[in-house]
Assembly symmetry: C2
Homo-oligomer: 444 residues x 2
């Protein structure tokens, strides 16, 4: 070894935002990377159907190749970077590359969430590795933290803001007081939301990432379909502002925590105290809080999307693959979801936490008593009540918002109570219920 | 490889707070660690002069050994964990262990800051590795972020809160409005400050960590002695409160940033905007912001000290050493300070930034004009002036504080101006000058 340089040939498949950024990194920063890593990273192929973007970026046409099979047949290529995205073509590409014995680096969270264990198993069979730092948190080295830096910990909980689009929208709603629709439009204009934002705002992208993060954190195999997912598209600015007054910031949170001998995964908008560092993660930034039995609370913050930050994660994986480092982790550690047991994935029904509730009620005597009575019958005790003035733009004759913060309550009981309250004649709209996520207790 | 388990024998030298915590982790969590890592980590020796603490922790006396040479002669022991601390005995221990071909894991920031390159060179000569995740930021995997997750980045700046004692004291001063002395006393009572707190409050411990962090971040060798260091022990609550009113939080910051073709390292209390995530790092927590040319801003947060969090970092290093992972990084990467060039370490004289200034002046006509005139002559322009009322406890007849926030100014010029202002007869106390650290610009 010593001073001798290792030449590593790489093929990128898919030259979109991230693929283009990785290609630029590997070409423009070649000497920087050599200086820092001691490796000669050689981008040999850019595989795509259409090279207009690659051309526009000034990438050398000598790299362009439409035939993936030809690339995979090149024995010099040891690393294939899949940046096509999606769960169909991308899966074929990864399978072919693994069968050809290539190490694969990918940013594809949807595919990993659906079929990660299967792909890892095939990688293992072919003595190859599958690296996916770029799948969660963009440029934040959170996957590494889970398989390396925090390996000595039993992870007890993980709270993540892992979708920059949603966090940008919620930040704008919170700070500017604008509606969801207005904030979404702004995000689209700023290039931070897709024309069809469904995958992001529905919480589904967040659920993909949660599946991946939780599987490494807990060393168990989770099923995406079993995660209850709520998006941000029904959030009303009114509630964000009331929460704010009470010291809470709304975030779309991916949460995994141990519950009743299993693990409870969920994705939903939640209020988090301004004391919690996640509350200060604003705009398109992401952050993940991890609670380990040895470290206590650690948090990882950075840009969760975009070509440049994500390319940082992809190139780190290329370096790990080239050095055989990822192989050592992959062969020895027992946390990879192709070799861990299926999780006991429990529903949030038994979760005990506080809730923010808002009811739009007729402004008559005894309304609060009626609501309180239903809550009481379901073992939900009230911590505080705010009878708010009616915001002008919502003013309807004699209808007023009542905001209730509960003490810690069982989620199942709360749902039951809301079902009942919904039927009361004094309640004029569907009740709003937002979970309050308390700081996870450190047990050091 | 496959399912076969690797048995790894470990010796811990020094059974204090961290050593004891690591010993407990390796014994009590042995099956957890086996389950997660696939490794059989066997604590074989605890080396110390005095085993009272080890006994009190319930560690098995069969591990106790006073003779280091006997331990190093045991061919089964492949990893030696140095947790004695300090720069004398600890250095001998590490040298002996490296010469015996053992991998060394240490938390010793003082020793690394003084003689890191020398030790790394000896490790390399003996085909051993020296790992030091636990030297900075306790349980935060920041060293790994620098040599692994961020390896694709040219790092442009690093801002760190890396001393929990100081951060606790400053948090108490900020939130409770108490004096430095009172806050120090509280910290001592809470076990967060030593009886002799000099190493912490002087900023020296922070400088040790900055030397280590900057060397990996910039891939250059820095000299501890060339870092200008200011502590927190002269900070007055008055300034913390005035800064607070202006939207700033005071932190003891370790900063490294590129300047004039070199790198400027400095340790000092500074005001940071409440918009910056570092501003929200409170109590004994630490955090490090790293600005990479690809990732932009990433931040790493967690408990920066204490036995349990630090043990998490030590065990992560043990796993990396046992898997040969650290060796692969150590042999190939070019960022280790035994193989990087000496840095052009520039003084902060040429730094351009904003400053908070406070002058205690006689309450007479034309005072501000006199001060402004000196500032102007030195090319320092004033952004805002606060003529504060005299706090009751400081009330002296006709002496009043004037607080000035400057526009961006060259530090050298500011010093010159202050020298002059100090001599004005209307100025009755030494001027207070606190640097305002602006957000580092991301150049993505």
């Amino acid at each position: 070894m010593g001073k001798q340089r290792t030449n590593v040939s790489i093929a990128i498949v898919g030259c979109g935002t991230v693929g283009g950024a990785v290609a630029l990194r590997l070409t423009q920063d070649q000497s920087l990377l050599q200086e820092r890593t001691g490796l000669d990273l050689q981008l040999k192929y850019i595989v795509d159907m259409d090279f207009r973007r690659a051309e526009a970026l000034g990438l050398p046409p000598s790299l362009f190749e439409k035939n993936l099979d030809r690339v995979l047949a090149d024995p010099e290529v040891s690393i294939v970077v899949e940046l096509v995205g999606g769960t169909t073509v991308a899966k074929d590409i990864i399978l072919k590359a693994l069968h050809a014995g290539k190490h694969v680096v990918t940013a594809n969270k949807a595919l990993l969430a659906h079929t990660g264990p299967e792909l890892l198993k095939i990688a293992r069979k072919n003595r190859a590795t599958l690296s996916f730092e770029a799948s969660c948190g963009g440029g934040i080295p959170i996957i590494r933290a889970l398989y390396d830096g925090l390996i000595a910990n039993r992870i007890d909980a993980l709270y993540g803001i892992v979708n920059g689009t949603c966090n940008y929208i919620l930040t704008q709603m919170t700070q500017e007081g604008i509606s969801y629709k207005e904030a979404l439009k702004e995000a689209q204009q700023a290039g931070l939301a897709e024309a069809d934002p469904t995958l992001d705002v529905s919480g589904m992208d967040t659920a993909h990432k949660l599946t991946i993060l939780a599987s490494l954190a807990f060393g168990q195999r989770f099923t995406l379909e079993a995660i209850p997912v709520e998006g941000i598209d029904t959030l009303q600015n009114l509630d964000i502002q009331y929460g704010n007054e009470l010291g809470y910031i709304v975030k779309l949170l991916a949460v995994a925590s141990r519950l009743n001998g299993g693990v409870c995964l969920r994705v939903r908008p939640a209020f988090i105290s301004r004391q919690h560092p996640l509350a200060w993660v604003s705009g398109p930034f992401n952050a993940i809080s991890v609670y380990g039995h040895a470290t206590g609370h650690t948090m990882y913050y950075g840009r969760g999307a975009g070509g440049s930050p994500t390319s940082s994660a992809v190139v780190a994986d290329i370096v790990s693959a080239a050095l055989g480092i990822h192989r050592a982790f992959f062969q020895t550690l027992r946390i990879w979801p192709d070799r861990t047991p299926k999780a006991k994935q429990v529903s949030p029904d038994e979760l005990v936490s506080r809730f923010y509730l808002r009811f739009m009620v007729t402004d008559t005597v005894g309304v609060l008593a009626k609501i309180a009575s239903v809550l009481g019958k379901n073992n939900i005790s009230i911590a505080s009540v705010l009878q708010k003035e009616i915001p002008e733009d919502l003013a309807k004759p004699s209808i007023a918002p009542v905001v209730i913060i509960t003490h810690k309550s069982r989620e199942k009981n709360l749902r039951k109570a809301l079902e009942k309250i919904r039927t009361l004649d004094v309640v004029r709209e569907d009740p709003v219920c937002i979970h309050i996520l308390d700081e996870h207790e450190e047990n050091l």
